[in-house]
Assembly symmetry: C2
Homo-oligomer: 348 residues x 2
């Protein structure tokens, strides 16, 4: 029996119900949300992926024009000899690689915690040299009255990881690139341990090794060091291809509980758990043998990329349960509730 | 006319003259040195690459055994069905990638600054989980009486970058992983700018972008942030494939002078220069149109990897000239002298 209870309101947000950021674009996906409580109510930061409305005979994408700050349509004729287009997510033109969609981040709010309304405008839009191909997969961690939002920043310079902070989800202060590229999936622990901040990160490796979960620490949230390998893929298991963090971890009496995402050789993405030592979070106490959340519902099995659950947001309900927010099939924003005790029981 | 004067004693160190670290190994290459003055005399930290003495019918490498601290021979029969070996530098066994050689770091000293004698034992040997496949390409920066050595740390976890420090080149204190993998070619600026330390780094990108030179800064040399893209490859030029730093930059009245390495589509590695603003080192003032140091001598044209000059060490002679130390053909340690004024003149 599954220990998770999916929201009956799933999918919470579908791309069909999201207004494009300009009339030239259409929304492909609204997914992979960060989550927090804001003024006592749930607030999601949803990744919205858009592409120019297709035009016959062309491949196209949106690219941020750094100077004007506007996302502009970039079109190439399909018969252009300098075009190489085989992967639906990428194309190459004159030796440069482009992504066929561009993402921004949009807030979604809820009065009842069950039904969500997404803003009809970008909340955090790409800006500057490291975000020309978009910003993706935000996570949120609150310190005092300030919300820190970490996300992937995509450009021709690589897949970087950036940090912004806000008090009101209207004005954001950009704090620069956190980790050297390529990297993604950053989640900052909600409190200091031994006087230092901690964060998960997920380097993308070119030469040796597999996509794995790493830990780093910091004195000031801006400069990071003491990088340590935490867990990697396990051969023959549900997490044999790649692992990365979900949302920021939850503090429990038994340790830091992190609900992480992983995929197998069929690009099936599921959610499992690790338990880390409270004082020495680089020590892994336990790890899921099987995922507790895996694609079953139609909005997880079918969509932009089928068979994917990508958990990235979490709200502690304060009643021993967690609301997990996740991307379904790389297209929808979804949620499920799970008891902390029941997750911990799977780790015995 | 070339502005560089190669040492008549080149190659300074050849692998044939380097004693293996154990009788089971042979030295393939002694190259890519870091350089500094120690007690007023030049000291190089040379990368020594070794492999097990070949045995017919086997592919083999050395791997650090983390617990014993010893480098042990790992052999696989060529007819083993789980072996994939096509690249002479790598092989794959049971899904894991191995490097066919393992490097450590060895000091070389000189009384006359022209002839060098290399230690017959490792000075800094691989240690711990991030160095099981070896340590490579050190750079040295001195602060007060302490020498900081940054180098690539290779393991099944990826290509990481590590920092150690020493006062005597005998005892080293390990300071951990500096940047998230994959990364390499780290050189720390010799003084603080605006209260912060600065370092070059060279991320290896998996998805988008090309191997480029980045800048990061730090308050304490351990935690790094404010990552900024500095320069990338230039299409159709001598540096069109990859760029990375050489040694730490030299402070001149016109700016920070960095002698960087770059390669073209034929994997020809040369050395050129960039000039960075003294107070805002993320601002590039000038860049070489052509390299001033490129493979010409036999020990640069022929060797383990032909047609390579990889500059990584530098000693300021104090007379307006620099001794550049570099790897020739990925096999030899070499040096050349160049006038700062003449390099700056190429940047007008």
């Amino acid at each position: 029996m599954s220990i998770v209870k999916r929201f009956s309101s799933n999918p919470l947000i579908s791309p069909a119900n999201v207004k494009p950021s300009s009339p030239e674009f259409e929304v492909l996906c609204s997914f992979n949300p960060g989550a927090t409580l804001y003024n006592g109510k749930p607030l999601l930061l949803v990744r919205v992926a858009e592409r120019p409305i297709p035009e016959k005979g062309y491949v196209s994408t949106g690219i941020l024009d750094e100077k004007s700050g506007e996302v502009k349509v970039f079109r190439v004729r399909l018969d252009d000899p300098y075009l190489k287009a085989s992967d639906p997510r990428l194309f190459e033109y004159r030796g440069e690689t482009f992504v066929t969609s561009i993402s921004h981040i949009r807030a979604a709010t809820s009065k009842d915690g069950i039904h969500f309304t997404i803003s009809d405008k970008p909340t955090l839009a790409p800006q500057g040299a490291y975000e020309t191909y978009g910003i993706e997969d935000p996570r949120i961690t609150k310190f005092d009255d300030t919300y820190y939002v970490s996300y992937s920043a995509i450009s021709a310079k690589g897949v970087a990881t950036s940090l912004s902070r806000t008090k009101d989800f209207v004005d954001f202060e950009r704090l620069g690139v956190m980790f050297a590229p390529d990297n993604k999936d950053i989640a900052i622990f909600p409190e200091k341990i031994g006087g230092r901040y901690y964060a998960f990160h997920r380097p993308s490796l070119k030469h040796l090794g597999m996509p794995s979960l790493w830990l780093a620490s910091s004195e000031n949230l801006l400069d990071w060091g003491h990088h340590q390998f935490l867990i990697g893929p396990r051969s023959g298991m549900w997490d044999c291809e790649r692992v990365g963090c979900g949302a920021a971890p939850i503090k429990t009496s038994e340790g830091w509980l992190e609900l992480y995402h992983a995929s197998d050789k069929n690009t099936r993405y599921c959610t499992g758990a690790i338990l880390l030592d409270l004082n020495e979070p680089w020590k892994v106490i336990a790890r899921s043998e099987t995922p507790f959340l895996f694609p079953e519902a139609p909005y997880e099995l079918h969509g932009f990329m089928p068979n994917i659950i990508f958990h990235s947001g979490l709200i502690d309900k304060g009643d021993g349960t967690l609301d997990l927010f996740y991307g379904g099939a790389d297209e929808f924003t979804c949620a499920a509730n799970v008891s902390i005790k029941e997750i911990l029981a799977t780790l015995k």
